[in-house]
């Protein structure tokens, strides 16, 4: 049933204009041909710009004005809050005014008495209720006026944009009360400029312009029309292409698809921070120039900043919208943060980047603006949204793309707060140095594209990504901002960082993913990327060349400017964990299935050259081989990452010589690696680990160290059994500076290790005897003339060994001392001259603490007078007892074979 009915209502005002003393009346139609009906219980919002006739219509409905033409029918009582504090007598107290106003609203004395307490409570004025109203602040008057009006229990309540005056708390209270009235079936008409409130409160919206109804419909229909057109007319521009309609309105860009607004207020806009103050594009004064049908240029003068923002918007044939935002500043702006936001309707339910995809969660009242951040600081060039829920209307899939060759930007995807109730896609650039200023006084703020009505997000992203990828047959390399992913037969072999580089310079790591990249696709098979890091005076260039359907070449070079001191450079290949085994020229093995908790699990180190192959049991995954040539100070490592990352990594390391000087200027090639997929050679991996067992005793050897087990219990710890030489003041350990080829059988292990950076190799022979003893013999081979000042054999044993023996001497180990950096502490030394075949050093179990630990003795066989035996406590990091054979004689070795150390380990279990 209609409780309010307006039929062809017209209202005229005669306005006396007084121009230079000459007065003439001009008639002005405030309301023109307005007809609408309001049913019982409806709540209607009336919106429009100032002077659109909103208040006049409320006054007409309230019966305060009579229409010049047309009819108004009202059923029921009306209370209106049309003029704030209208009924207040300033001299009277709040209390008296409540009585006065309530009676003006038509209440009887007794009724007022009944409601008085509620009104006072709602207005929450405290003792001010007894003070004259003239002493009230504006907020207090509003509260009182609103409290009175809302408690009048009218059938129809009219509110003229008064709610916004009160503070947040009071507004909330009012809205709650209005909802209560709604629930009671009261009819509500209100004028507001607060679109969020409108959306929440009313089920119908009437949009007025110049006294006429432009749209009478749901808030979703009317509000967009209003927000798109309200504003200074010279700052509004419209582009149309079939169903697509773009409205640029004073710094906000709105996208309409048919009659659906895809981007609710504030549409697409720019927000940026200069000198710790936020500015946005819709605060500027805009002028729109539109010379072509599909193109517009808008210039916005940003006051306070004395600079100009220029938007160039162009609609292309396939509903693609090119958007280019440029800033023109005579005095360079220190742009701390620049965001380009695309506000989207909540009809969009899913988002997708080319790696991540998810649903937008429901926005709850509790969510604050940033709390609903879905993706934070990711580096993507294209974001897509899709509406997958069933809507009456078709919401087109939409892509928001950023031109990749500008500077590095973060993407953020998030929900707005509860009131806004929309999705936001954001590109954000942090730091002024990230804007390239090679164009004088202007720079590109944002450059990108919105693609409307793309068929589906996945294929669109794939298509966009194609621009950053090269392929040949089944092989495809995708460039992704400082990373390069390999996929073969549509399966991605790499993960995480894919192929990446990093530079350790000036005591800081610079990762390729954090650099700003310029990309060039030279041919279908060549990709050239040049990256810069803020604060690092060099450029890195990648050249990725696909040579065949199965192989490609990665060349990485740096061009050093002045002042950069590079210490190390890495080229990293990070693979899926589906790769289960590895192989290099120096042996191979299976990746351990378990990842270590907090550290990487180094499997092979110091591979100086040659081919590294990763293989998978999964038939789908092709073998990958990485081939690199030998180069000074360069080697490769193979390792498992830690537990949280879970990936296989091959890392090629280039160490600059430590000469304390800056890296020379100019271009130098750092890495050149050939990657081949799906090699046919099914090589059986040569084990880089070997095992041998005899009785209770077993030894396990891998990459330059041995681990000793007795009755399945390890006696050694951490570094285990290893050798170490010192040349020119620098230590070279068997486990970190050599690569090993091994052979193991039942009771013997043979290992050949070649040192990198030293012309040295060693041959180890380890034999396990029946009588719980181990004979070992180490021969070294010098390739070219070199000097050595120390040679060592170390056996690091469990900390649980608390007593040592040396021949007949026996004592307890002291506590470990000092810092990690402290030298190891020699507890007993035999001295060079006294060592004979029968001399030994050893450790005993501590009888009281550990049961089942055998004592261990180390004998020296075929004594070389230069060698001595030492008992050593390690540092507190390793916490091991060390039995050591050492040769401290400094000597120069000519090429040839030399005996290194011959010894025997005896295990005595009592």
């Amino acid at each position: 049933m209609a409780v309010v009915a307006l039929k062809d209502v017209w209202l005229m005002h005669k306005i006396p204009f007084n121009i230079k003393g000459e007065v003439f009346l001009e008639t002005f139609w405030a309301v023109r041909n307005v007809s609408f009906t309001v049913g019982k219980g409806e709540s209607i919002g009336i919106i429009g710009e100032n002077g659109a006739g909103k208040s006049t219509i409320l006054r007409l409905i309230a019966g305060l004005l009579k229409p010049d033409r047309g009819q108004i029918n009202i059923v029921g009582s009306i209370a209106g809050l049309l003029e704030l504090g209208a009924g207040f007598q300033p001299e009277l107290s709040g209390r008296d005014n409540i009585y006065l106003n309530a009676s003006l609203f038509g209440l009887q004395q007794q009724q007022i008495d009944k409601k008085y307490a509620q009104i006072v409570e709602f207005a929450n004025l405290g003792k001010f209720i007894y003070a004259p109203v003239k002493c009230y602040s504006q907020g207090m008057s509003v509260r009182l006026a609103f409290a009175i009006a809302i408690h009048m229990d009218p059938d129809i309540l009219l509110i003229d944009d008064t709610l916004s005056v009160g503070d947040g708390h009071f507004q909330k209270k009012c809205i709650k009360k209005i909802f209560e009235l709604k629930d009671q079936g009261k009819t509500l008409l209100f004028v507001t400029h607060d679109m969020n409130m409108l959306r929440r409160l009313c089920n119908r919206t009437i949009f007025l312009r110049e006294g006429r109804i432009v749209r009478d419909g749901s808030a979703e229909e009317a509000v967009p029309l209003y927000t798109q057109t309200a504003g200074v007319k010279q700052g509004v521009g419209v582009l149309e292409k079939d169903q697509l309609r773009l409205v640029f309105n004073n710094g906000k860009l709105f996208l309409n698809w048919g009659d659906i607004l895809l981007t609710p207020d504030p549409g697409m806009h720019a927000v940026f921070r200069v000198k710790d103050k936020w500015h946005n594009s819709f605060q500027a004064d805009w002028t729109v120039e539109q010379k072509q049908e599909n193109k517009l240029v808008a210039r916005g003068q940003l006051y306070q900043l004395d600079s100009i923002q220029i938007w160039r918007i162009e609609v292309l044939n396939n509903y693609d919208i090119n958007i280019n935002i440029e800033m023109d500043d005579s005095q360079p702006l220190e742009m701390q943060e620049g965001c380009t936001n695309l506000t989207l309707t909540n009809a969009y339910s899913h988002w997708r980047t080319y790696l991540e995809a998810d649903k937008f969660p429901q926005i709850t009242e509790a969510d604050r603006y940033q709390a609903a951040l879905l993706q934070e600081n990711i580096n993507r060039n294209v974001l897509c949204v899709e509406a997958k829920q069933n809507y009456d209307k078709l919401i087109p899939c939409l892509g928001f793309e950023r031109a990749g060759d500008a500077c590095r930007a973060d993407c953020q995807i998030f929900n707005s707060d509860y009131l806004g109730d929309c999705r936001i896609l954001q590109y954000r650039i942090l730091g002024a140095q990230n804007y390239s200023r090679d164009r004088g006084s202007s720079f590109i703020y944002f450059s990108g594209k919105i693609a409307v009505n793309i068929p589906d997000a996945r294929s669109y992203i794939a298509q966009v990504q194609d621009e950053y990828s090269i392929s040949c047959g089944k092989l495809k390399l995708r460039w992704e901002q400082g990373r390069c992913a390999i996929s073969y037969k549509d399966i991605e072999l790499t993960k995480g960082e894919h192929i990446a580089t990093s530079i350790y310079a000036n005591n800081k790591h610079y990762h390729s993913r954090l650099a700003a990249w310029q990309l060039r696709k030279n041919a279908q098979n060549t990709l050239v990327a040049i990256g810069r890091w803020p604060g690092l005076a060099l450029t890195q260039m990648w050249e990725i060349i696909i040579t065949t359907e199965k192989s490609f070449l990665i060349k990485i070079s740096v061009d050093v400017n002045e002042g950069a001191q590079i210490e190390e450079q890495y080229l990293r290949f990070i693979y899926q964990i589906a790769y289960t085994s590895y192989r290099s020229n120096y042996g191979g093995g299976n990746f351990p299935e378990k990842f270590l908790a907090y550290e990487t699990d180094l499997l092979q180190r110091c591979i100086p050259k040659g081919e590294i192959v990763l293989q998978s049991r999964d038939e789908q995954l092709p073998d990958v081989s990485m081939e690199f040539a030998e180069e000074a100070h360069s080697f490769a490592k193979i390792f498992n990452s830690d537990m949280s990352i879970r990936k296989r990594e091959v890392r090629i390391v280039k160490v600059e010589p430590e000469n304390g000087t800056a890296t020379p200027k100019g271009k130098q090639i750092c890495f050149e690696t050939k990657v081949t997929l799906d090699t046919d050679k099914k090589t059986c991996a040569q084990n880089s680990e070997a095992k041998s067992q005899n009785g209770h005793l077993s030894i396990y050897f891998y990459s330059g160290r041995g681990r000793l087990f007795y009755k399945k219990r390890e006696l050694t710890k951490k570094l285990g059994f290893y050798t170490s030489v010192r040349s020119e003041g620098r230590w070279y350990d068997s486990y970190s500076y050599a690569s090993w080829m091994l052979k193991g059988n039942k009771n013997m292990i043979e290992a050949r290790g070649k040192w990198i950076n030293l012309p040295l190799s060693q041959y180890w022979q380890i034999i396990l005897n029946e009588d719980n003893s181990i004979n070992f013999k180490i021969i070294m081979r010098v390739e070219s003339k070199m000097s050595m000042d120390r040679q060592q054999v170390n056996i690091m044993l469990l900390e649980s060994y608390r007593e040592w023996v040396a021949n007949e001497k026996k004592n307890s180990f002291p506590d470990f001392q000092g810092d990690i950096d402290d030298d190891w502490q020699t507890i007993w030394a035999s001295g060079r001259t006294h060592v004979s075949n029968a001399d030994y050093i050893g450790v005993c179990k501590n009888r009281t603490r550990e049961v089942g630990l055998p004592s261990i003795k180390l004998f020296m066989r075929e004594t070389n007078s230069d060698w001595e035996l030492n008992i050593v406590n390690s540092d507190i990091y390793h916490r091991g007892r060390i039995l050591q054979g050492a040769n401290k004689k400094e000597a120069v070795f000519m090429p040839g074979e030399y005996p290194y150390f011959n010894g025997q380990i005896l295990i005595e279990d009592f």
Binding site: L81, E83, Q89
Partner: protein, 281 residues
């Protein structure tokens, strides 16, 4: 639930008289309907008026006393008129006149000064002048409480004429009301009205026999006095208070006629101006 139709479209001409009568009845009945509100506004005005003053209600007492003192001094010491007991003679005329001017000039501004009320509340706009007149009437009555005993002391039989006095007061009230609503309405349309009213009242004061009696007016100009409605009210008050004699029917008739015409025309004019005024505020 009430249903009302606001229709400004022209009605058939033949019904115009009836319609006007209906309009009057409607106006008056709506005033009656809003009587509480009117009273409330009046009370609020009174409160506001006296709350704002240091002297409070005493100003209403002081005002007529001062007037009497001044009048007595001027007319007994400076200008010697041959009217016995001139101060009381003058007072019986000036006191109602003071009410008349105060009420009329206040009421003429009542809509302009309280237009907010009409912006928000559905009130018959005559309510505002009416409430103002009531408020002024209250002040008048306060003063009256001081003045009236003087007359009783001077001429005890006056008290017997009190019912007639009340009737005269009521008629004066109606007369003022009729005039006030017209002026109040016109004042919204053109603010000149308020200023003009001051001049008119000044002129009116001197053509009304307050400091003189009608007998003293030369015969040639006496018609002016007879055309002036306030002459009858002044004569009425003076007869009842000063002379202590019953009024002639002619005088009562004249007062009835003038107040009736005033209310009737006032309401009609004000009703005609209704929409113009609502738009104007």
């Amino acid at each position: 639930m009430t249903s009302r139709i606001q229709d400004n479209q022209g009605r058939p001409f033949s019904q115009k008289g009836v319609a006007q009568l209906n309009l009057l009845v409607g106006r008056i009945s709506s005033l009656i309907k809003y009587r509480r509100v009117i009273l409330q506004i009046a009370v609020a005005r009174i409160k506001a008026k006296y709350l704002g003053l240091k002297l409070g209600i005493w100003i209403s007492v002081l005002n007529p006393l001062l007037v009497m003192l001044v009048v007595s001094f001027v007319f007994t010491r400076i200008i010697k008129l041959e009217i016995t007991n001139f101060p009381l003679f003058a007072l019986s005329g000036i006191f109602p006149w003071l009410f008349f001017t105060a009420a009329l000039s206040e009421a003429a501004h009542s809509i302009v000064s309280q237009q907010n009320l009409l912006y928000q509340f559905k009130l018959p706009k005559e309510a505002l002048p009416l409430a103002t007149i009531i408020a002024e009437f209250f002040s008048f009555l306060v003063g009256w409480c001081i003045i009236y005993p003087l007359f009783i002391v001077f001429n005890p039989q006056t008290i017997l004429l009190l019912p007639v006095l009340i009737l005269v007061l009521a008629l004066l009230f109606c007369f003022i009301f009729g005039l006030a609503i017209v002026f109040a309405a016109l004042n919204v349309i053109s603010r000149d009205t308020g200023q003009l009213l001051g001049v008119i009242l000044m002129f009116w004061f001197w053509v009304t026999p307050i400091f003189y009696s009608v007998d003293m007016v030369p015969q040639d100009f006496r018609w002016i006095s007879y055309l002036n409605p306030m002459t009858y009210f002044t004569i009425g008050f003076r007869d009842l208070l000063f002379h202590g004699k019953m009024l002639s029917l002619a005088i009562i008739g004249a007062m009835l006629m003038f107040s009736g015409v005033s209310v009737f025309c006032g309401l009609l004019i004000s009703a005609k101006l209704d929409n113009k005024i609502l738009k104007g505020i």
